[in-house]
Amino acid sequence: MVVKKYFNESVENELEEAKRKIDSVLNQKDLEKIYLEIFGKSGSFTKFTKQLGKAPQSRRPEIGRQLNEEKKELEEYFEKKRSTLNAQHLATSIDITAPSKKPAIGHLHLVSQAIEEIVDIFKRIGFSLKSYPEVDWDWYAFEALNMPKDHPARDEWETFFVKSKPNAQLGNQVLTPHTSNGQVREMLRLKKPPIRMLNISRCYRRQVDVSHTPMFHQFEGMLIDKNVSIANLKGTLDYFAQKFFGKERKSRLRPHHFRFTEPSFEIDVTCGVCLGRGCRFCKSGWVELGGAGMVHPNVIKAGGLDPKKNTGFAFGWGVERTIAMRTEIGDIRLLFQNDIRFLEQF
């Protein structure tokens, strides 16, 4: 073309030659050396620019534009090689132990983590989560659960009462000392079985020590259907123990007494340290998890269902307790002190 004619193919050759040189370079330092050889003061490409002045006046703009295009092409070629070498450089010689640049990520409270896991486990066998009042009527928290007024069994729940006018039918307002108020509420809400309910809620009792805080989280499951058996309860609890604590863990039932279930049980899980053989942590090979039972006919009746046709089971435990069983937190009050250094550990 025009340029070729003027410079006798030398520009074209110079371009090809330069590209070959660039291709053969192995490191950044050599690449910069070649750059200078081409574009430096007396570089091979610079000499063409210098010759431009000698070109006839009329052809200068045209030749200049052409030269610029060639130069631009070559510079891009350099740039590509530079970034390739750069990437190779980073890949080969960085200190991987240097601190990262990571986007901020927060932390979920241990209680939420446990709740999520528990809900997930029970969801897979058809239980669904439901929310009920935390300030509720005495009737739902006690009376409908087969605990008449002044019954000594109520002493086991150190209950907070709310300053308010008692309702003629439903009694006082209380802070729910357990999640079992959800039992009758759920039956009344659905009006017919099958029911597979989960209730996880803040609960309140008038106690503070290393294993008690006045507020805590309880978890409760209830199933109402036809011909529900103790074997079904055992199956459900074994399933949970294995999913939550580990495949090798088992649960067992021991006799207990609650007014709202009959029979009533205490649930134990095999100790995580000795797996049931007995060790110095657990003594017997088992650690206590929570309470359970077959829903009392009076409770089913209070829920508006026919206890002759429907049976069911319920179980529940403290979420904090399951956390204490899995971590080494001895004092559960730590969970609600909200020290950021504690929260960030999980």
Binding site: G126, L129, E134, V162, L175, V228, N232, G235
Partner: protein
Amino acid sequence: MNIKIPVSWLRDYLKTDVAAKTLANTLSASGPSVERIDKVKEDYVFDIEVTSNRTDSVSVFGLAREANAILSNLGEKSNHILPKGINLVLEPDTVNILNLDVTIKDLKLCPRFTAIVLDNVKIRPSPAVIQNRLTLSGIRPINNIVDITNYIMLETGQPMHAFDFDKIKGPKMVLRESTEGEKIVTLDKTVRKLPKGSIVIEDAERLIDLCGIMGGANSQISKRTKRVVLFVQAYDPKTIRKTTQSMAFRTEAASRFEKGVDLEGILNALSRAVYLAKTNANAKIASELVDIYKVKSKTPTITLAIKKLNNYLGEAIHPNLAVKILSLLGFEAKLQNETVAATPPSWRIDDVADDVDLIEEIARIYGYQNLKSEIPKGDIPISEKDTLEEVIGLKKALKFLGLTEVISYSIISQKMLALAETKRTNVVELQNPLTENWQYMRPSLLPSLAEIIGQNQFIRQNLRIFEIAKTYIAQGDELPKQDLQLALVLSHGDFFEVKGYLENIAEIIGREMKLKPNAKKHPLFIENQSAAVFSGKERVGTVGVLDSKITNYFNIKGAVAALEINLSTIYSLPTTAKTYKPIPKYPPVIEDISAIFAKQTPLDEIIQTAKKAGAPLVKTVEVIDVFEDEKLGVDKKSVTLRLTYQKSDDTPAQEEVTATRNKISSALEKSLLAQIRK
């Protein structure tokens, strides 16, 4: 209720070769729970938890009876022995018969009353075995007569009392309800003011017993006591409970009486006590037996359908086995047309009332460990997704946005409550708070979160925390409004940062959220740096910078940006629908336009005006720069908008773009009095 008993004592009434540890395990598996075993010399001491319905088992004898049933069913060699003396005939040993005049004003207060006078009593320390057993059970030995009363209580579960006969004036006893203002000095030398309606015994002159709870000091056994009234009763559980609750004073005897005792066991306990008094104190019976027994209605027979039993167990067991188990437990049981008919023994009548109670007895002795373990088979109910389940996902999303979750107490102090300036009638207050710090149910999560910022501000520079919990607003005589709230606070944060979180949250939740100026100042936020959050027409929360009243209260350095939104309301609103819009095939034309506006003109108004004027060619309008300068004039600001012109079927032509830009410019000039910068 827990009871500590030495195994050697248990073995007096339970004859078996089974080792102590095995015994503990079998008891725990099918009956009361042995929570602790301590080895003391050659003996073991069991610490046993007995559930509140089984007062019959809070005794050595009751536990032996229970263990015997369990062991026998397991096929272990086991026998149950009756305590010595329980069938002793209570007839006077002396010629000189003493008389105690007993009157019970109301038989409902005391369904059974037995007493007998002993003479010739030698007060001295009990034999070593009794002292030792009492000590291991946690009771301090005193003297042979007082020790007998305690020993009998632990052994038979029946509380009893002994009076010094010579200190009873009359000698007579009148059992009645206390009247207003009566007092008694009890054995622990404490003056007790009695609530009206407590059960008391009065002699010819004064009160001598606070029945069922503690005896009077004026008639107590002393070293010089020669003649003793041994005394075993039952009281109306409700009345005893009322007294203990109103006096906040409960003894071991009281906690047994308020749950009810075995009326048929009362005379046996008295006989056994007399037997021990004869053996340990040379006592002689010096009176006729006093036994006032309000005839109890006959125990009804409970029938349990075999089918129901099997349904509960999840398997069929032989009906004869069910009958056998009940018989081992002292029930009168037989098979009757596909049912088991059973009458509970006297010590179980308060506890066993329904067929499900029989199921429990059969199932636990049969062994829960022997039942199958099966996941329930029935239909899985169809249920809608609850807000709580949505919240689990939301919490995770917030975590990945860099926020850390806290959980703080829902119960707060008066001072914390005051920060939120809740209307008096909306406050939920506890009737029986534990301490001043936990007195009110919180109406907002923000003061608690601010407190956490204050607490941690010197540990971490930038605290980004959130909590999701209910708040409580009283609603007259109804239950308080208990909505789930999300609160989020950022230390050293500003309005726009927290607004950014709000927009992200709206995206995560899938609900529209818009800011509007607060109608009136929110007590927790700075007035001119906060806004009301709306979703559609619903006010769902507030966003902004916390008022210095709050930050100062917790000594927080720097501004705290925060938001609190009502998740219960938000999740009840419909989600924003997402519809498909074709991805543009032709590139847009993008250009910027700058103009000077009055300072108070909201940016959103500028954007909306530009959008409206630029439609349909303008697809987006963004603010890319805002600045104020004296050169622009007083109370003026310069705003640069980035306009994106785009068409679905072509690249916008230069003429179209110019025409649209002119329309936008004149709209801004006309309706917002803008001055376009060239």
